[in-house]
Amino acid sequence: MSIWEYANPKKFMQTSAWALPWVMGLAVLSLVAGLIWGFFFTPDDFRQGSTVKIIYLHVPAAMMAINAWVMMLVTSLIWLVRRHHVSALAAKAAAPVGLTFTVIALVTGALWGQPMWGTWWAWDPRLTSFLILTLFYMGYIALWEAIENPDTAADLTAVLCLVGSVFALLSRYAVLFWNQGLHQGASLSLDKEENVADVFWFPLLVCIGGFVLLFVALVLMRTRTEIRARRLQALLARERLA
Protein backbone atom coordinates (compact mmCIF):
# COMPACT_ATOMS: atom_id res chain seq x y z
CA MET A 1 0.00 0.00 0.00
CA SER A 2 1.65 3.19 -1.11
CA ILE A 3 0.53 6.62 -2.18
CA TRP A 4 1.39 5.81 -5.79
CA GLU A 5 -1.58 3.49 -5.97
CA TYR A 6 -3.73 6.60 -6.40
CA ALA A 7 -1.83 7.40 -9.55
CA ASN A 8 -3.96 4.75 -11.18
CA PRO A 9 -7.02 6.63 -12.46
CA LYS A 10 -9.37 3.75 -11.67
CA LYS A 11 -8.14 3.49 -8.12
CA PHE A 12 -8.30 7.26 -7.77
CA MET A 13 -11.88 7.34 -9.04
CA GLN A 14 -12.93 4.63 -6.59
CA THR A 15 -11.29 6.17 -3.56
CA SER A 16 -12.31 9.72 -4.38
CA ALA A 17 -15.91 8.66 -4.97
CA TRP A 18 -15.90 7.24 -1.47
CA ALA A 19 -14.07 10.17 0.13
CA LEU A 20 -15.73 13.07 -1.65
CA PRO A 21 -19.05 13.19 0.26
CA TRP A 22 -17.20 13.09 3.55
CA VAL A 23 -14.73 15.81 2.65
CA MET A 24 -17.43 18.00 1.12
CA GLY A 25 -19.72 17.48 4.12
CA LEU A 26 -16.98 18.30 6.60
CA ALA A 27 -15.97 21.34 4.54
CA VAL A 28 -19.49 22.75 4.50
CA LEU A 29 -19.96 21.94 8.17
CA SER A 30 -16.79 23.64 9.35
CA LEU A 31 -17.21 26.62 7.00
CA VAL A 32 -20.75 27.24 8.18
CA ALA A 33 -19.78 26.74 11.81
CA GLY A 34 -16.65 28.88 11.61
CA LEU A 35 -18.22 31.72 9.67
CA ILE A 36 -21.33 31.85 11.87
CA TRP A 37 -19.16 31.73 14.97
CA GLY A 38 -16.94 34.44 13.60
CA PHE A 39 -19.71 36.64 12.28
CA PHE A 40 -22.25 36.45 15.10
CA PHE A 41 -20.44 35.44 18.24
CA THR A 42 -17.15 37.29 18.37
CA PRO A 43 -16.67 40.72 19.94
CA ASP A 44 -15.40 43.73 18.02
CA ASP A 45 -11.71 44.44 18.19
CA PHE A 46 -10.96 47.57 20.19
CA ARG A 47 -9.00 49.09 17.31
CA GLN A 48 -10.49 47.59 14.19
CA GLY A 49 -14.10 47.56 15.30
CA SER A 50 -16.28 45.11 13.47
CA THR A 51 -13.91 44.89 10.49
CA VAL A 52 -12.04 42.22 12.44
CA LYS A 53 -14.77 39.83 11.27
CA ILE A 54 -13.28 40.01 7.77
CA ILE A 55 -10.26 37.94 8.83
CA TYR A 56 -12.40 34.80 8.91
CA LEU A 57 -12.52 35.02 5.13
CA HIS A 58 -9.37 36.92 4.33
CA VAL A 59 -6.74 34.90 6.17
CA PRO A 60 -7.91 31.40 5.15
CA ALA A 61 -8.38 32.49 1.53
CA ALA A 62 -4.92 34.03 1.42
CA MET A 63 -3.32 30.96 2.98
CA MET A 64 -5.03 28.62 0.56
CA ALA A 65 -4.22 30.85 -2.41
CA ILE A 66 -0.53 30.24 -1.72
CA ASN A 67 -0.95 26.61 -0.68
CA ALA A 68 -2.86 25.89 -3.89
CA TRP A 69 0.11 27.10 -5.91
CA VAL A 70 2.46 24.98 -3.79
CA MET A 71 0.23 21.97 -4.38
CA MET A 72 0.31 22.67 -8.13
CA LEU A 73 4.10 22.87 -7.94
CA VAL A 74 4.33 19.50 -6.18
CA THR A 75 1.89 17.74 -8.50
CA SER A 76 3.63 19.26 -11.54
CA LEU A 77 6.94 17.88 -10.30
CA ILE A 78 5.38 14.45 -9.75
CA TRP A 79 4.02 14.56 -13.30
CA LEU A 80 7.38 15.56 -14.76
CA VAL A 81 9.28 12.91 -12.82
CA ARG A 82 6.88 9.98 -12.65
CA ARG A 83 4.45 10.69 -15.52
CA HIS A 84 1.28 10.01 -13.53
CA HIS A 85 -1.61 11.56 -15.42
CA VAL A 86 -3.73 12.00 -12.30
CA SER A 87 -1.05 14.27 -10.90
CA ALA A 88 -1.03 16.57 -13.92
CA LEU A 89 -4.82 16.68 -13.95
CA ALA A 90 -4.90 17.52 -10.24
CA ALA A 91 -2.62 20.50 -10.92
CA LYS A 92 -4.94 21.62 -13.69
CA ALA A 93 -7.94 21.15 -11.39
CA ALA A 94 -6.41 23.20 -8.58
CA ALA A 95 -5.61 26.34 -10.61
CA PRO A 96 -9.12 27.86 -10.92
CA VAL A 97 -9.77 27.15 -7.23
CA GLY A 98 -6.52 28.86 -6.29
CA LEU A 99 -7.40 31.81 -8.51
CA THR A 100 -10.78 32.14 -6.79
CA PHE A 101 -9.13 32.15 -3.37
CA THR A 102 -6.64 34.76 -4.52
CA VAL A 103 -9.44 37.01 -5.72
CA ILE A 104 -11.32 36.54 -2.43
CA ALA A 105 -8.18 37.50 -0.52
CA LEU A 106 -7.74 40.61 -2.68
CA VAL A 107 -11.37 41.71 -2.46
CA THR A 108 -11.65 41.23 1.29
CA GLY A 109 -8.25 42.88 1.73
CA ALA A 110 -9.41 45.92 -0.22
CA LEU A 111 -12.65 46.12 1.74
CA TRP A 112 -10.72 45.90 4.99
CA GLY A 113 -8.14 48.42 3.82
CA GLN A 114 -10.70 51.10 3.01
CA PRO A 115 -11.63 51.93 6.64
CA MET A 116 -8.25 50.92 8.12
CA TRP A 117 -5.81 52.59 5.76
CA GLY A 118 -8.27 55.03 4.21
CA THR A 119 -7.88 53.57 0.74
CA TRP A 120 -9.27 50.64 -1.25
CA TRP A 121 -5.96 49.88 -2.76
CA ALA A 122 -2.46 50.51 -1.51
CA TRP A 123 0.65 49.24 -3.25
CA ASP A 124 1.49 47.41 -0.11
CA PRO A 125 3.96 44.54 -0.61
CA ARG A 126 1.49 41.85 0.35
CA LEU A 127 -1.33 43.19 -1.78
CA THR A 128 1.03 43.65 -4.69
CA SER A 129 2.39 40.13 -4.35
CA PHE A 130 -1.13 38.77 -4.45
CA LEU A 131 -1.93 40.78 -7.52
CA ILE A 132 1.13 39.27 -9.20
CA LEU A 133 0.06 35.80 -8.02
CA THR A 134 -3.28 36.42 -9.76
CA LEU A 135 -1.40 37.07 -13.00
CA PHE A 136 0.57 33.84 -12.60
CA TYR A 137 -2.65 31.86 -12.08
CA MET A 138 -4.22 33.46 -15.14
CA GLY A 139 -1.20 32.70 -17.30
CA TYR A 140 -1.13 29.10 -16.10
CA ILE A 141 -4.84 28.56 -16.80
CA ALA A 142 -4.56 30.28 -20.18
CA LEU A 143 -1.71 27.98 -21.23
CA TRP A 144 -3.77 24.90 -20.33
CA GLU A 145 -6.66 26.24 -22.38
CA ALA A 146 -4.52 27.11 -25.39
CA ILE A 147 -2.88 23.76 -26.10
CA GLU A 148 -4.93 20.96 -27.58
CA ASN A 149 -2.80 17.89 -27.02
CA PRO A 150 -3.36 17.04 -23.35
CA ASP A 151 0.10 15.58 -22.70
CA THR A 152 1.85 18.53 -24.34
CA ALA A 153 -0.29 20.89 -22.29
CA ALA A 154 0.53 18.98 -19.10
CA ASP A 155 4.26 19.13 -19.80
CA LEU A 156 4.36 22.79 -20.76
CA THR A 157 2.20 23.96 -17.87
CA ALA A 158 4.33 21.93 -15.48
CA VAL A 159 7.47 23.67 -16.77
CA LEU A 160 5.70 27.02 -16.51
CA CYS A 161 4.67 26.20 -12.95
CA LEU A 162 8.26 25.45 -11.94
CA VAL A 163 9.70 28.56 -13.56
CA GLY A 164 6.75 30.63 -12.37
CA SER A 165 7.30 29.52 -8.78
CA VAL A 166 10.86 30.78 -8.86
CA PHE A 167 9.80 34.09 -10.35
CA ALA A 168 6.84 34.43 -8.00
CA LEU A 169 9.25 34.10 -5.07
CA LEU A 170 11.63 36.60 -6.69
CA SER A 171 8.75 38.99 -7.22
CA ARG A 172 7.77 38.64 -3.59
CA TYR A 173 11.20 39.83 -2.47
CA ALA A 174 11.47 42.42 -5.23
CA VAL A 175 8.17 43.92 -4.12
CA LEU A 176 9.36 44.00 -0.51
CA PHE A 177 12.46 45.83 -1.66
CA TRP A 178 10.42 48.22 -3.77
CA ASN A 179 8.06 49.27 -1.02
CA GLN A 180 8.59 48.46 2.61
CA GLY A 181 4.90 48.75 3.24
CA LEU A 182 2.54 50.87 5.23
CA HIS A 183 2.12 48.80 8.28
CA GLN A 184 1.88 45.18 9.27
CA GLY A 185 2.82 46.20 12.77
CA ALA A 186 2.40 43.56 15.41
CA SER A 187 -1.15 44.47 16.42
CA LEU A 188 -2.43 44.17 12.84
CA SER A 189 -0.38 41.19 11.82
CA LEU A 190 -3.17 38.69 11.78
CA ASP A 191 -1.38 35.56 10.77
CA LYS A 192 0.92 35.52 13.75
CA GLU A 193 -0.77 33.32 16.24
CA GLU A 194 0.43 35.10 19.35
CA ASN A 195 -0.99 38.44 18.25
CA VAL A 196 -4.53 37.23 17.91
CA ALA A 197 -6.56 36.85 21.05
CA ASP A 198 -8.07 33.42 21.66
CA VAL A 199 -11.57 34.71 21.15
CA PHE A 200 -10.69 35.46 17.50
CA TRP A 201 -8.24 32.61 17.07
CA PHE A 202 -10.54 29.62 17.58
CA PRO A 203 -13.21 30.57 15.04
CA LEU A 204 -10.38 31.51 12.67
CA LEU A 205 -8.93 28.03 13.09
CA VAL A 206 -12.27 26.47 12.21
CA CYS A 207 -12.54 28.67 9.13
CA ILE A 208 -9.02 27.75 8.02
CA GLY A 209 -9.95 24.09 8.38
CA GLY A 210 -13.09 24.72 6.37
CA PHE A 211 -11.18 26.38 3.54
CA VAL A 212 -8.62 23.55 3.45
CA LEU A 213 -11.38 20.94 3.27
CA LEU A 214 -13.27 22.92 0.66
CA PHE A 215 -10.12 23.15 -1.44
CA VAL A 216 -9.54 19.40 -1.18
CA ALA A 217 -13.16 18.67 -2.05
CA LEU A 218 -13.14 20.98 -5.06
CA VAL A 219 -9.84 19.62 -6.34
CA LEU A 220 -11.13 16.05 -5.98
CA MET A 221 -14.30 16.92 -7.88
CA ARG A 222 -12.47 18.76 -10.61
CA THR A 223 -9.84 16.04 -10.98
CA ARG A 224 -12.62 13.47 -11.37
CA THR A 225 -14.15 15.65 -14.05
CA GLU A 226 -10.81 15.97 -15.82
CA ILE A 227 -10.27 12.20 -15.76
CA ARG A 228 -13.73 11.66 -17.21
CA ALA A 229 -13.11 14.33 -19.84
CA ARG A 230 -9.88 12.60 -20.81
CA ARG A 231 -11.68 9.28 -21.18
CA LEU A 232 -14.40 10.99 -23.18
CA GLN A 233 -11.81 12.39 -25.58
CA ALA A 234 -10.22 8.97 -25.96
CA LEU A 235 -13.55 7.31 -26.71
CA LEU A 236 -14.50 9.98 -29.24
CA ALA A 237 -11.14 9.65 -30.95
CA ARG A 238 -11.56 5.88 -31.16
CA GLU A 239 -15.05 6.36 -32.60
CA ARG A 240 -13.72 8.60 -35.32
CA LEU A 241 -11.09 6.03 -36.22
CA ALA A 242 -13.55 3.15 -36.35
Binding site: V103, L111, L214, L218, L235
Partner: protein, 58 residues
Amino acid sequence: MMPDLGKYAFEVLSSYAASLLLLALIVGLTVWQGRRVKRRLAEVEARTEAMSGGRADG
Protein backbone atom coordinates in the same frame (compact mmCIF):
# COMPACT_ATOMS: atom_id res chain seq x y z
CA MET B 1 -29.80 38.24 16.17
CA MET B 2 -27.89 40.47 13.78
CA PRO B 3 -24.76 41.74 15.50
CA ASP B 4 -24.22 45.47 15.63
CA LEU B 5 -21.54 46.13 13.06
CA GLY B 6 -21.26 49.81 13.82
CA LYS B 7 -19.90 52.15 11.18
CA TYR B 8 -18.12 49.34 9.30
CA ALA B 9 -21.32 47.46 8.43
CA PHE B 10 -20.89 48.06 4.70
CA GLU B 11 -17.32 46.75 4.57
CA VAL B 12 -18.02 43.65 6.65
CA LEU B 13 -21.25 42.73 4.91
CA SER B 14 -19.90 43.27 1.43
CA SER B 15 -16.79 41.20 2.25
CA TYR B 16 -18.98 38.31 3.29
CA ALA B 17 -21.30 38.78 0.33
CA ALA B 18 -18.48 38.98 -2.21
CA SER B 19 -16.58 36.02 -0.78
CA LEU B 20 -19.60 33.79 -0.49
CA LEU B 21 -20.60 34.74 -4.03
CA LEU B 22 -17.14 33.83 -5.37
CA LEU B 23 -17.15 30.55 -3.45
CA ALA B 24 -20.62 29.75 -4.75
CA LEU B 25 -19.40 30.55 -8.25
CA ILE B 26 -16.45 28.15 -8.17
CA VAL B 27 -18.49 25.42 -6.50
CA GLY B 28 -21.31 25.89 -9.00
CA LEU B 29 -18.91 25.85 -11.92
CA THR B 30 -17.22 22.71 -10.63
CA VAL B 31 -20.52 20.88 -10.12
CA TRP B 32 -21.88 22.00 -13.49
CA GLN B 33 -18.76 20.96 -15.41
CA GLY B 34 -18.68 17.68 -13.52
CA ARG B 35 -22.28 16.86 -14.36
CA ARG B 36 -21.91 17.84 -18.01
CA VAL B 37 -18.81 15.71 -18.57
CA LYS B 38 -20.31 12.79 -16.65
CA ARG B 39 -23.47 12.89 -18.79
CA ARG B 40 -21.57 13.11 -22.07
CA LEU B 41 -19.27 10.29 -21.04
CA ALA B 42 -22.26 8.11 -20.17
CA GLU B 43 -23.82 8.83 -23.57
CA VAL B 44 -20.67 8.00 -25.49
CA GLU B 45 -19.98 4.89 -23.41
CA ALA B 46 -23.50 3.61 -24.03
CA ARG B 47 -23.10 4.27 -27.76
CA THR B 48 -19.75 2.51 -28.08
CA GLU B 49 -21.00 -0.46 -26.11
CA ALA B 50 -24.06 -0.73 -28.34
CA MET B 51 -21.87 -0.48 -31.43
CA SER B 52 -19.48 -3.18 -30.32
CA GLY B 53 -22.42 -5.43 -29.58
CA GLY B 54 -22.01 -5.52 -25.83
CA ARG B 55 -18.38 -6.57 -26.15
CA ALA B 56 -16.58 -5.23 -23.11
CA ASP B 57 -13.51 -3.37 -24.19
CA GLY B 58 -11.47 -0.57 -22.64
